[in-house]
Symmetry: C2
Subunit: 152 residues, 2 copies
């Protein structure tokens, strides 16, 4: 199949809206240009973020807004908006039920996988969109400073 970057793209989208709001028109076309994906994909992601209460959009108007402060949106909020109930670690449910291992491995791993998944989610919940945006802006400043340096 193909590896999904939807979570990564959704964070990109939110940061983009916050950083470029008021600067350029925020159409799905414009946003898609930054993510380098299709406008349809952007609109689909925005639909999921809207239903999760993270952004507000108006039908027909290219002007999405964040529905909350950037320090009130965690990466877990975004993850859940996009990935929903999808487990982080995939369990093989097609095993031989008549075997001691095949018949009990699912229930067993479900417990242990969940512990690891919760640990990751707790960490995602501690990271806010504001952290991501701050880091992006710092990295950009560093790039600009280095660029000026080698130009002299």
């Amino acid at each position: 199949m193909k590896i999904s970057t939807r979570f990564s793209d959704a964070i990109h989208l939110l940061a983009f809206i916050h950083i470029y709001k008021g600067q350029i028109p925020l159409s799905s076309e414009t946003i898609a240009g930054s993510i380098e994906t299709s406008p349809v994909m952007v609109r689909k992601l925005m639909g999921e973020l809207r239903r999760a209460g993270l952004i507000e959009t108006t039908h027909g108007t290219p002007d999405p807004k964040l529905a909350k402060a950037t320090d009130d949106i965690s990466l877990l909020d975004v993850y859940l908006a996009i990935e929903k109930e999808k487990p982080l670690f995939q369990i093989d449910y097609k095993t031989n039920p008549d075997c001691i291992v095949g018949g009990n491995i699912q229930e067993t791993l479900k417990e242990y996988y969940n512990q690891a998944e919760v640990a990751a989610k707790a960490k995602l919940n501690s990271i806010k969109l504001s952290d991501v945006i701050d880091t992006i802006l710092v990295k950009q400043k560093e790039k600009d400073a280095f660029k000026r340096e080698i130009e002299q």
Copy 2:
């Protein structure tokens, strides 16, 4: 993102070897019957587990052995043997480098994603193959007891 069922199947394989060792011949055919996959897949997984030092096999002989005690093999050991460097959360590397967001999102998310990944891995490292096997055996005993009950 997301992990295939190979991780799940590898744990299955190790538990199967431990539980059925000496009881039945442990050919890739037999093991594949419990996982409900192909013998070739089993041999591939066994190859990776062998190279990671978790099992010992002999070419031509259907008799794999665990290379360590079951409480000395953690789920993280198995995960790393199978998934190697593969990140738990996928970053979209194809974004517009001329955009502030598109040009810095990868480096930014790499840091934060890694924090979440480490949290999950630390938890996986605390769970041992012995825990998995104990849980499987307890669940089987419970099944057997319940089955006897409704038969009377």
